[in-house]
Symmetry: C2
Subunit: 327 residues, 2 copies
């Protein structure tokens, strides 16, 4: 049996997807856990290019970041779509318009969102769209173009929504992790820039056994808390003992921001991905604004401007928007 090549729907020459920002690591799950945010993300439009000379081109990059490569081989969205075109034997050229809502180098999963948004939009053009599971590998190949090695801890929650865990890499297996109803998240990005590759390279190659055991205890408490809806257990467990302390030194004001967040009632506080953004989980969206103010004031007192977002947990993953979303 040979697979039929996938086909573009002739009535649907373009589709646009929204792909949310995400927070990876989540204090206790380095390279494992990640969750999606609401209201902040990238929008990616993919359209059929009748006059294409190459499989994929980047027609525009707008929004909060514009200095990304437009060369298809160096652009995460374009690489992801190119892999998809190749795997599906699509006989068309596609054009990508990227509208970035996620600041560059913020630790909020910007490259994952562009790649995921692009494949979800491209998928919207197909007569028989693929499942989210089938799209993930393409997005990861796109993300690898930016961050060196594909880590699904941003791409998976971006695609599926909610909180996800990478439970195996070979083959890749992603499972969802419940979060108690009502919980919310505050993300604050101080105006510092950290390079993901450098942040990763700064980590020690070894973890002291004792710390690894302590971190396993916290990961265990965190996951049991999430499944039981035990918010206090989640709060007690949300401490990063491994990557966090090594990375926090590069974030001016990290300790002050953490103390401010916890003092204002946050459940837990840690670095978002490899930073410099930080995040706090709060008991309810109403607690978000006081925790947000406390964190921003801590950075401001050190002369650092910041940007902040308050989001529910458990929000949607990447999805088509506009006309295509209705069909």
């Amino acid at each position: 049996m040979t697979r039929k090549p996938a086909r573009i729907n002739p009535d649907r020459p373009e589709a646009t997807a929204f792909a949310p920002a995400t927070v990876a690591n989540v204090a206790v799950g380095f390279d494992v856990l990640g969750f999606a945010l609401e209201g902040v993300g990238d929008r990616v439009r993919v359209s059929v290019d009748e006059d294409a000379t190459e499989a994929v081109s980047v027609e525009s990059i707008t929004g909060v970041v514009t200095d990304l490569p437009t060369d298809p081989g160096g652009n995460t969205a374009a690489v992801a779509v190119a892999k998809m075109i190749e795997a599906l034997d699509l006989d068309v050229g596609l054009r990508i318009a990227l509208d970035k809502g996620i600041p560059l180098g913020s630790g909020m999963g910007g490259s994952a969102a562009s790649a995921v948004g692009a494949v979800v939009a491209a998928n919207g053009l197909l007569v028989e769209p693929l499942s989210a599971e089938a799209l993930l590998p393409f997005a990861l190949e796109g993300e690898a173009a930016a961050s060196g090695a594909p880590h699904a801890d941003n791409a998976a929650p971006c695609l599926y929504g909610g909180m996800t865990a990478v439970v195996a890499t070979d083959p890749l297996r992603i499972v969802g992790v419940p979060t108690p109803a009502g919980l919310a998240c505050v993300v604050v990005r101080p105006e510092l820039r950290i390079d993901t590759k450098e942040a990763r390279a700064a980590l020690r190659d070894d973890v002291p056994l004792e710390l690894s055991v302590e971190q396993s205890m916290r990961l265990t408490g965190f996951l049991i808390g999430c499944h039981r809806g035990d918010v206090d257990l989640i709060g007690q467990s949300m401490k990063d003992l491994i990557a966090g302390p090594q990375r926090a030194v590069a974030i001016t004001g990290f300790d002050a921001a953490r103390d401010a967040a916890l003092g204002a009632g946050a459940l837990g506080f840690a670095i978002a991905g490899s930073g410099p953004s930080v995040f706090a989980w709060v008991r309810s969206i109403d607690d978000g604004s006081s925790v947000e103010s406390a964190i921003r004031a801590a950075f401001q007192s050190l002369g650092l401007n910041s940007q902040a977002w308050v989001s529910r947990l458990g929000c949607a993953g990447a999805h088509l928007v506009g006309e295509q979303a209705e069909r």
Copy 2:
């Protein structure tokens, strides 16, 4: 407010407790996870000694192990009871009769069971018995007399039953972990002896970061599988990448036994505690005997005799037996 000293019930001069054997580490939760077995354990009788010259004495040690210290300062059960007498201001002497069902140095939580059994039995003598939570610290102090440092990963499941997780050590916090209904466990003890202190000392002080991430993925998959009742996810996740490979070299036939167990349909296979016992989880108690035979045959083919136990998961923790249990 001063605490009233605890009082011994004058109508109850002795009590006997059964304390189950336990399997710690459980492949993915080194020093964190442990679960109780059924039908194998220690029986500890504690009785009031009217003519006592010291707070605690060991009157007899019977069963499968008899060469344990009877000196109260070196006996786990006696140390645990002495700590309890001291903390509760009990003005009596207590005598301990230990009937060991757990082989020495087997990796099945023998010292934890003696200590837990002793405090549960002593608790049975009180007018107002303490909660299990209140008993745990005494048992841990007893266990420390044997193994150097108290690790609650055997004592906690021995006391509470089922599977437990140590989610924090300072202060100590234990939570239960559900296991899917029907699952069972096979424990096989090859006739080798490994010293717990030496086994612990043999572990490298550092864990490569990459391995630590892989192990976090498996721990995450294991815990999610347990909460969801996803038996396949549990099976896929039950691999020890850290302590296991370092300790398995001391267990003749480990690889052959693992291959035999998995070949006979076991979900997962690992070292029980610090060994030399090994254990497998199986889908049902009916699968237990074929997996047991496969493991024992693998050891036998290398000239090693073995003993085996098949147990449900989710079984009871330490409890009073005989007349006292009825009251």
